[in-house]
Amino acid sequence: MIAALRKELLLQWRSRAQFFSVFIFGATALLLFSFGVGPNSEVLRQFSAGFLWLGLLLSSTLTLAESFHAEMENRALEGLLILPADPRALYYGKTLANWIQLTLLGSALVPVMVILYDAGTTRLLSLLAIIALGSAGLAAPGTLYAAMTSQVRAKQTLLPLLLFPLIVPALLASVKATSLVILGDPMQTLRSWISLLAAFDAIYWSLCGLLYPRVLED
């Protein structure tokens, strides 16, 4: 898995310009959401967590689809499989790399959210931890579905269609936990939402890892 992760990080570094493009896309989405609500700063602040995660979710489809572009260009993934590389190691290597990238992307969108929605918080570490956990919930099924759709023509449409319904529970938990960090947690429910999110992450990471070899080979 270390070999696969190393390769993924190297490929991501080589295509780092893409990261900035995706960040601009996410930041633009956050800006457009604010136009939908209007200049009411209190409402904007209330919805800021949802907007942040929607921005990250939309951006993630670009990142996830792109992570298979290099694999399909010269059938490099097929080349690794016949070496033979362990498909599960390839999956976890790519998923870890996608997780890191989505966490960085989510973290980079936080200042944009703070500026646009006046949604600052003193609990920055908690917010970053929730972004990391939520990104893990996006990365695991996202990598699986990106592999499934990488060889079809309508991948840009098909990936969100498959991914969005599956990650609804993790997305809801992420939005709720982020909202509690930003707006306050009078009922002390933050820990429960984080536990729920971590549980969904564990399910996604283990199930998708089991399914990935079948997706590649069949």
Binding site: I2, A3, A4, R6, K7, L10, L11, R14, S15, A70, E73, N74, R75, A76, E78, G79, L80, L81, I82, L83, P84, A85, D86, R88, P213, E217
Partner: protein, 224 residues
């Protein structure tokens, strides 16, 4: 937990290197391979000839366990290409018409990736690049390479492995005369090491001079 790759079964040396019975594979409604049976003894060189679309590449991809046959069975180094894919892949090296290279990585990095996945030390990489006359371009990204240079780099990738069966799909394609000589040397060297070689080529005379057996495919069937 023991992965499928860890469950290694040693090859049965008494079996032929390749045995295929009535292999067939279709894409949509077109049969790329209609009915191919063949036996290739260990340590021999088989040249596979045929027009474009005759099924050579599909045959190689089925034997490499990349494609599942729709009909028939095939064993490579004694292993079934459908049910024992991991074992088959340990025994083969495939030079495909796909380069299997990452465009944004350098020649050296591409070989490092393969070496890391094979669990081989990276020290060998420069000598392999030297062998395919690419050491001066080791740190250039593959996207700047010509088709012939990509083919040479794909060859270097094949050399990283230690296979008992080598499948060379159009090894002379895009190469210059020096590249042709490199392929000839490689095939002779593999044969001297008792490695079985299957070579699909349109360079009939050249291939025939290296081969022990010849097979001609036409419309997915063995013609001769």
């Amino acid at each position: 937990m023991i992965s499928a790759l860890d469950r290694y079964h040693p090859p049965n040396m008494s079996e032929p290197a390749i045995q295929a019975d009535h292999l067939a594979r279709r894409f949509g409604r077109r049969w790329a391979l209609a009915d191919v049976s063949l036996v290739v003894p260990r340590g021999t060189v088989l040249m596979v000839a045929g027009h474009n679309g005759s099924g050579k590449s599909t045959l190689f991809r089925v034997l490499a366990s990349v494609l599942r046959p729709d009909h028939g069975v095939a064993r490579v180094a004694g292993f079934d290409v459908v049910t024992q894919r991991a074992d088959v892949r340990r025994e083969i090296a495939l030079l495909s018409h796909y380069t299997y290279l990452y465009e944004s990585l350098t020649a050296r990095e591409n070989l490092h990736v393969a070496a890391d996945h094979l669990g081989i030390k990276r020290d060998i990489v420069m000598s392999l690049l030297d062998r395919v006359a690419l050491s001066s371009r080791a740190d250039d990204v593959v996207s700047t390479f010509s088709a012939g240079m990509r083919k040479r780099l794909s060859f270097a990738r094949v050399f990283l492995q230690n296979p008992s069966v080598v499948l060379l799909d159009e090894p002379y394609g895009q190469l210059d005369p020096e590249g042709f000589a490199l392929v000839d040397d490689v095939v002779r060297e593999l044969r001297s090491k008792q490695v079985t070689v299957l070579m699909a080529t349109h360079q009939i005379e050249r291939g025939a001079s290296l081969a022990d057996q010849q097979l001609i495919l036409a419309a997915g069937r063995v013609q001769k």
